[in-house]
Symmetry: C3
Subunit: 348 residues, 3 copies
């Protein structure tokens, strides 16, 4: 594609030769002639001078480059769209594979693609244009919207409801039984049947091998626009708001309510029955044991305000020094007391 056409398609202003042929989008360190590249992280700005790319996406007014430049108001968004323009086609042909098992009475929309070894249960429905890759299990009564992508080896349990344009990465489990047991007097546990609902709203994406449990009563719900990374645990009865981001290996305990636009770093743990206020942030590995007000930024275990945490964390490393200073004070004090006693004795 000519750089001129690319600029037009991405809504960028072109600086340089519009006749250059662009064949690929690549990272700044790997870029070769024929590549469009970008600077997404200031760490890589210094690499710009030495890039072999033929063109680079840059913000209006910022930086210059030894190659052609596409000026964008949001270069990262332009990069995302450029990647899409060059991405290989991946959509399998519509149709139901001969070795799929679709229960009589399951409803398939137009233009769906159902791969080999996909099992679709009685009363389930799959919306228009949705793609289901091989070895996916869709339980009885599941409802899946249109334009979804269900990657291979996903398990969707009975009666789970999924909206439109949802993407489930491989190995996702939806609607597994929540972890609910009542202790009997002999120390054994009785299972509380987990039979209530799981709802995944529109435009949600769930990462590989992530699990979302169903509750005994009520529902587990992930609201529209939320993006969750791999190996995350969403326990029974949790509500996740709109446009929430959770990095890999986060775990949310039961019945917690996570409001819109919350951000969790990797491996964060959140206790049960809490409310995590709108737009709050927990940095990676923190352990949230109390509800958070809107806009909180927390770190550590138990998670506290991240500035406070940083100040204490710096001092954690200096604990041996602080101890030494206490010991020194004690020694000097003892010495002084001895002197004073002596001088006191002297004056008697």
């Amino acid at each position: 594609m000519k750089l001129r056409e690319l600029a037009e398609r991405l809504g960028c202003r072109l600086e340089g030769d519009g006749d250059i042929e662009i064949a690929r989008v690549s990272g700044i360190q790997d870029a070769k002639p024929g590549d469009l590249t970008f600077v997404a992280n200031s760490k890589y700005e210094s690499a710009l001078a030495d890039t072999h790319a033929s063109a680079v996406l840059l913000r209006e007014g910022a930086l210059t480059a030894p190659c052609a430049v596409l000026r964008a108001t949001d270069p990262y968004l332009a990069f995302a769209r450029a990647v899409a323009l060059f991405a290989p086609a991946w959509r399998p042909a519509p149709g139901v594979h001969a070795m799929a098992a679709v229960a009589a009475g399951a409803q398939l929309g137009t233009n769906v693609s159902i791969g080999a070894f996909v099992s679709i249960g009685a009363g389930a429905s799959v919306g228009d244009n949705t793609v289901v890759f091989p070895n996916v299990t869709i339980g009885d009564g599941v409802r899946i919207g249109s334009d979804c992508v269900i990657h291979s080896n996903v398990a969707i349990r009975e009666r789970v409801v999924i909206g439109h344009r949802v993407i489930l990465q491989n190995g996702v489990v939806l609607g597994s039984d929540g972890y609910g047991f009542v202790r009997r007097s002999d120390g054994t546990h009785e299972k509380i049947p987990q039979v209530a609902d799981v709802v995944i709203e529109d435009d949600v994406e769930l990462g590989a091998n992530t699990t979302v449990d169903r509750p005994a009563v009520g529902e587990t719900r992930i609201r529209s626009g939320t993006k969750i990374d791999n190996l995350v645990q969403i326990a029974h009865g949790v509500t996740v708001g709109r446009n929430v981001l959770m990095a890999a290996q986060v775990g949310i305990a039961g019945s917690t309510d996570i409001e819109d636009a919350v951000v969790f770093g990797g491996q964060v743990g959140v206790g049960g029955h809490l409310t995590i206020g709108r737009g709050s942030v927990a940095v990676g590995q923190s352990g949230v044991t109390n509800s958070l007000p809107a806009g909180a930024i927390v770190a550590g275990y138990p998670a506290i305000d991240s500035h406070e945490w940083r100040r204490s964390s710096v001092l954690f490393k200096r604990l041996p020094e602080l101890k030494r200073r206490i010991e020194e004070l004690e020694a000097r004090f003892a010495e002084l007391s001895a002197q004073l006693d002596e001088s006191g004795d002297d004056t008697e």
Copy 2:
């Protein structure tokens, strides 16, 4: 179901109108007319006055409600049983799906249900009434007891032994190779073949995408009545005792012995070759690096007695203040020393 009948089936004492029709069990905040609800967490007691439920499960002697009441000695247990009474039927019809692959010589009990795309290896056996959902792989020589539920997309490796009434949530892996390698002098590693046994005893439940490894020698064993949540790692050679509870994302390193009735919060990590004493508890995210005596309650990393940990943890937040107090003491001491030196000088 009439409330009177429900009271009888749950063994509860009825206060109020026994002719009320109950159609559903629900949480106190969502309850509508026709619902039976409960108070499981004191946090929700205040919601009781405003509930729209038609009836509520309460302990004998405690609280009152603006609706009919079922008095139970253990309301939470009664709730579990009430949920079961109203749960939708879920059991697939007995039989072997036409697109299952059952090896010649594999033994299936009476009344089993084997779903589509289930592969059962040579010499494997599945007990009476056990349900195997689609896309499950059961390796050669596996033995599964009766009344088990194996949810979709589970992988059970060769020769694993599973007791009765075991529930495996979706995506569970049993009998994968333990992480065992010997370093060679050139820095590469030689695999120690992991070919020994995995035994899952009666009444165990394992959560979605949880993994249980097999060892090179000896066995990995999970004893009866233990309930494990999602995304948990049980390494090779681990023994987990009876009626143990582990929340999501816990990881247990190799050859550790976990005694009966232990409780681990979410994301707890436990080192290898340890003994975790009967009934001990590790709170969420703690890292257990030493063996624990029976009844220990630990927190933090490295995990220490939880009371000790809490005391230190509170002071962690106050480290900047403690440092300031040390600095103040130093300053006052320096001032005092100067004064004393001066006054000493004066007296000379």
Copy 3:
């Protein structure tokens, strides 16, 4: 097998009766007559005197035993090989199962074994002697080398490249979309298409339910000889060097470069865009937030030098005592000041 023959095959020096029949390899605590055992962990040395094993693998010159001894330069390596000698045969017969779905044009090497419900996409290739267990999904254009073992329920996405002698434990996901989104001005997120490469080099082993994401541009690469445990997250654009070891539940954020021979304990988290120097070590549960030089050994969160961390960690437990000592100093100082003021008053 006669002990004499075993000694020969393992390259060990025999002390004792070479005519003893050995039927099994077992751990020192479980060993019975007819067993060969070993001492891999000094914790178990004391058990040696009481072992019922018929023979034991020991280092030259070290320890003695109440049974026959096989002296080895590396007893643990000899143990690994002994286990292999007695391991049950596990390799399924070559051939393609009648209920596999192999796309026209996919290339299968000689002597491959393809299990039931395996889906192999268009343009994919599987090398000689590779075994693919049931319910595995292999996407379009995937290339798998020879002598690999792909355990059941693995998902390999389109165009992933896998070397020779690679072992994928059950439930592994390779090539799932990396977690890459651009925030739009309305708070929603646009997906950056994740369409670039994942390369798994020779002799790599990945544990059960581990996930490896593909990036938007560039590649995710795991170099030869690296062994990764269960439930590990390798994000998009990460490079993992040669002979790296990662225990279970480790998470590596995007674009991080992990050099050769690095070792991570369980549940370690590593931030994005970092460089982890050759041979460095992070102990279990640590959180690595900065790049590490070669040979670093770190612990804690944020991870610091492990010796420093240990010194501070010991003092964390003693924070209540340190606070008490500060309070004592303050009290004594106040008392002293009062005395001095008084004596100062006296002298006026």
